[in-house]
Amino acid sequence: MSTTLLRTIQLNQFSLLGTALIRRRSNNVSVRCCGSQTATTHEAKQTPPSRVAPKNHKSNKLDEILRDYEAVIGIETHVQLSTLTKAFCSCSNNYGSYPNTSICPVCMGLPGALPVLNSKVVEFGVRLGLALNCELSLKSKFDRKQYFYPDLPKGYQISQFDIPIASGGYVDLDIPLEFGGGHRRFGITRVHMEEDAGKSLHSDTEDYSQVDLNRAGVPLLEIVSEPDMRSGVEAAEYACEMQRIARYLGVSNGNMQEGSLRCDVNISIRPIGQAEFGTKVEIKNLNAFSAMSRAIDFEISRQALLYDQGKADQIVTETRLWDEGAQKTVTMRKKEGLADYRYFPEPDLPEVILTQEYVDSIRASLPELPEAKRRRYEAMGLGMQDVLFLANDVSVAEYFDAVIGKGAEVKLAANWIMGDIAAYLKNEKLSINDMKLTTQELAELIAAIKDGTISGKIGKEILFELLAKGGTVKGMIKEKDLVQITDPAEIEKMVIKVVSENQKQLEQYRSGKTKLQGYFAGQVMKMSKGKANPGLLNKILLEKLNAKD
């Protein structure tokens, strides 16, 4: 049988290369197109994942049962940091490399190798801690969390135990209108620094396993929330906000599919009015926000039904996996008591000492965060739908800010970005940073329409050309001679010509078929190559059509 179990894990210590494992295609995805649906610029509006209602046959009876219970949800989020090198050695930190090519004696846990802290990890920890309104520990330390697993080279993970770098914060977010809307504040228990483990790859036949240590030693920040969420939607929105903040701060690409953002959910339910928590169940393997929302709602229903049937004792402390195919959670392992990780202070690393000046300098360098952006957009008069759309993606928000910074009217800028531009990007599968339309030109375009230089219709045409080819609004107007005709005499000339050339239609119009006004307008517009000012055109046209000559 499996006598070769794990034998293949043995690495050649001289070449530092393992046997060829699974070669993973480098998912060279842009921040916006991957990771989550809510993170993409337009899909977010069309199919935000957390909007998906649990499909587990919510009968009316179940609804009734659910009314009597309250869910208590806490989330542990692991954010993989986008530092150039790993947390404790100088190996490069790049996702998707050939297995066991980004490793060294330190991250392989060879005898005698010692960790040296990458200062970027601390900087990112401070950034995230501040962004989550946490108290920072000016003096924190690393601890060893000990357990055996083949993908954990040292037999312990360097983490932070009793003194995390940041603790006691909160995050504010807005629930989308489709889910009832409203503002929420969820508590953040702590943020701590740690290293990732390698990856175990199990053969299909299950008779051997292989280990890829490229990920071993990659820096992580773990964010632990207070048990403040009450529904799948709230939990998914919380996770989504973590991703948004990580991306705003530039500490992580936040891509869930690459495992750069991983969420473990702890969930229990209790009869409404009960103060004590129920038995806690952990759900893993949630690699999309939609899955998180559905898994939680499924789990709430499952537990509520058990309560209702008097089988509450069947809710046990365990880890469950979300089975995407079956749309349900299944038992992964039951926990027998608490695992004892035998934490103790890491003697190979000195304490992490932060000065107030350092913290202040990082605070001063923080970008405007999602919550502040949303409140600002709201104050600018945008509706919540627009606010959530624009603030969702940091690149979109920055683009929007740049456009209005150049004087474009707020509502118009929002409409262009959310409408035609978003649609274009979606079709072309581009991110807003990849398109050729600069913020300067969009602002000019909006201004040109507003001041009547060009018509809205022409504006749209120009927009698509600018998106595809780039260039300037002024140049294009000039090149194509697109300046709107606003001279009444010139328009009148064209109107007279059109009317005189369409005597038959004129008679019909005058005999009551007034709908033909549109036909005439169209002909004039055609003659002007679309440049005639529509208001002026219609005004003059009506005068001529109704004139008694």
Partner: protein, 536 residues
């Protein structure tokens, strides 16, 4: 009854031809305690340098003489787990540099033994453990890298207690090393191979590691100088960790000057070890004046505190009187001697064993048979761990892993590990206070001279108790030097006893100065083991 014997000094015994002379001297020593005083011990490093530069001999010739001595003595001593195949080649390179008139590093041609828990690239490095049998690291420890850059030649890897856990070198998975002074006795440990190799002149100097006394106690047992630097003075990168907060790489030499010069070579900040210190490394060599340049009271005004608790019950009378005589010698050199008390002294041993075992239980987790080292195949993952570690580790190591795992377990952490750390703070405070009043503190290096092989093998507590003199220094992170100060009865020609001098953090310079003057002026003592005579 034990008494201090003071046989005469002997030659420094650099080349083999001189080494043969010692037969006469040592046998004279055993027959007479009032033999004529010979010249003080000479630095082998400086002697080597002089004879290479003057063309008196070549590095290859010197290396050959040492290799032949290894061949002669090794069957009885078993100091080395591995002797390098490249010694002569490395020596040739030194000679070529000399021939070309190129600059010579301060360790050019110096033959250095390296404890087997210090990584040497491509050379077996097993920490004397079955679990790392045949393991060859892909990199040099920082200390080794520095030694090679300065022209030093690694002779081979020396035997030790597995992973440094032991005080006799009997806990090696591969062989038992004998004490050159008496082949039926242990050389001490855990750096027993490195100490015995220097005592037997199988190499000129050697590296050991000191977690609770593993350099100083074997130095005392083998009659050589053992230097434990301040924690952080020497990079630990490439030292296989036993207890990370206590481990330091230390130096052995047949003179204080040799140990000091080797320390100088390996000291300094290393970006690969974040616990290494950025403190400046002073030029120790200026301290090693030749005896003709000493003033009449060369240590005038140096305040020496003798630690009262180290001379109480449990210390052999011979050791006690040797220590007291050493103290008198220091007084004669001009030192001001006072007795000091370290109230926390007796708490150190239990605190040490809790901390060291706890850290080791974690540090040794990486030896799981998955990536390197011996793997025992199994049907299932936990079995693989159990069998690989069960068969790979020796009894002492397993015991300490179990103790450490227990001490760190939930519910016991506060009672053991945390409490031990509190004791550690107390000990640091007591030492600090005593060293504010005194320049150095002195004590015996061990409660007894070398004991018989097997004597304490089945009584770990008795063996642990032997570490009482040294563990506190590790808990406080301070530097200390042990140097031979006398002989007690035992073996064919007496057994050496070491004096421990403890200094303030990063003040190795003062320790070396006092140690050197003490050594060069110690009348009548020679610390050449009789074995050298016997094999010749």
């Amino acid at each position: 009854m034990l008494s201090t014997l003071q046989p005469p000094r002997s030659l420094s015994l650099l080349p083999l031809r001189r080494f043969q002379c010692s037969k006469h001297i040592v046998s004279a020593a055993s027959s007479s305690s009032t033999a004529p005083v010979t010249s003080p011990p000479q630095s082998q490093i400086l002697t080597t340098r002089r004879s290479l530069l003057s063309g008196e001999t070549t590095a290859v010739e010197i290396a050959k003489s040492y290799l032949s001595r290894i061949r002669l003595t090794e069957p009885q001593l078993k100091c080395f787990l591995h002797v390098s195949e490249n010694v002569l080649k490395d020596a040739q390179e030194v000679d070529q540099r000399i021939a070309k008139g190129e600059e010579l590093g301060p360790l050019a041609g110096v033959l250095i033994g390296v404890k087997d828990n210090i990584c040497t690239e491509g050379m077996p490095s097993t920490a004397a453990s079955r679990i790392l049998e045949h393991y060859r690291p892909p990199f040099d420890a920082t200390a080794i890298k520095k030694i090679k850059e300065l022209g030093g030649i690694v002779v081979g890897k020396t035997n030790m207690d597995e992973f440094g856990m032991g005080s006799t070198t009997e806990a090696s998975a591969f062989q038992v090393t004998a004490n050159p002074w008496d082949l039926t006795r242990v050389p001490g440990g855990s750096s027993g191979g490195s100490a015995a190799a220097v005592a037997a002149r199988q190499c000129m100097v050697s590296l050991g590691s000191d977690t609770g006394g593993s350099v100083r106690q074997p130095a005392s047992f083998c009659g050589v100088v053992g230097l434990k630097p301040t924690y952080g003075r020497v990079s630990r990168f490439g030292l296989m960790a036993y207890a990370s907060s206590l481990d330091v790489i230390g130096c052995f030499g047949s003179t204080v000057a040799d140990a000091g010069m080797l320390l100088h070579a390996i000291s300094g900040y290393d970006r690969f070890d974040s616990t290494s210190s950025k403190q400046d490394v002073p030029e120790f060599q200026s301290q090693f004046l030749s005896v003709d340049h000493f003033e009449s009271k060369p240590l005038k005004g140096v305040k020496v505190g003798i630690i009262r608790e180290t001379l109480e019950d449990g210390v052999d009378s011979g050791v006690r009187s040797a220590t007291q005589e050493a103290a008198s010698h220091l007084e004669a050199l001009g030192c001001m001697l006072t007795e000091v008390s370290l109230p926390s002294f007796s708490l150190g041993l239990p605190a040490y064993y809790v901390i060291a075992s706890s850290e080791s239980s974690s540090n040794l987790s990486r030896y799981d048979g998955v990536r390197y080292g011996n793997q025992v195949m199994a049907e299932e993952l936990n079995k693989l761990y159990e069998c690989s570690r069960g068969e790979g580790f020796g009894e002492e190591v397993k015991m300490r892993i179990l103790m450490g795992t227990y001490a760190l377990s939930a519910g016991y952490y506060d009672a053991y590990y945390k409490r031990a750390q509190q004791v550690r703070t107390l000990i640091q405070k007591d030492f600090k206070a005593a060293l504010e009043q005194n320049d150095i503190l002195i004590s015996p290096a061990a409660p007894s001279a070398a004991y018989k092989i097997g004597e304490k093998k089945d009584d770990p507590l008795a063996m642990y108790a032997g570490d009482i003199m040294t563990v506190n220094v590790n808990l406080a992170g301070l530097p200390a030097v042990v140097l031979p100060c006398g002989l007690v009865e035992g073996g064919p020609s007496g057994l050496p006893v070491g004096l421990q001098m403890i200094g303030a953090a990063f003040d190795e310079e003062k320790l070396l100065k006092v140690g050197h003057i003490f050594e060069q002026t110690l009348k009548g003592s020679s610390f050449i083991p009789p074995l050298l005579a016997n094999v010749a």
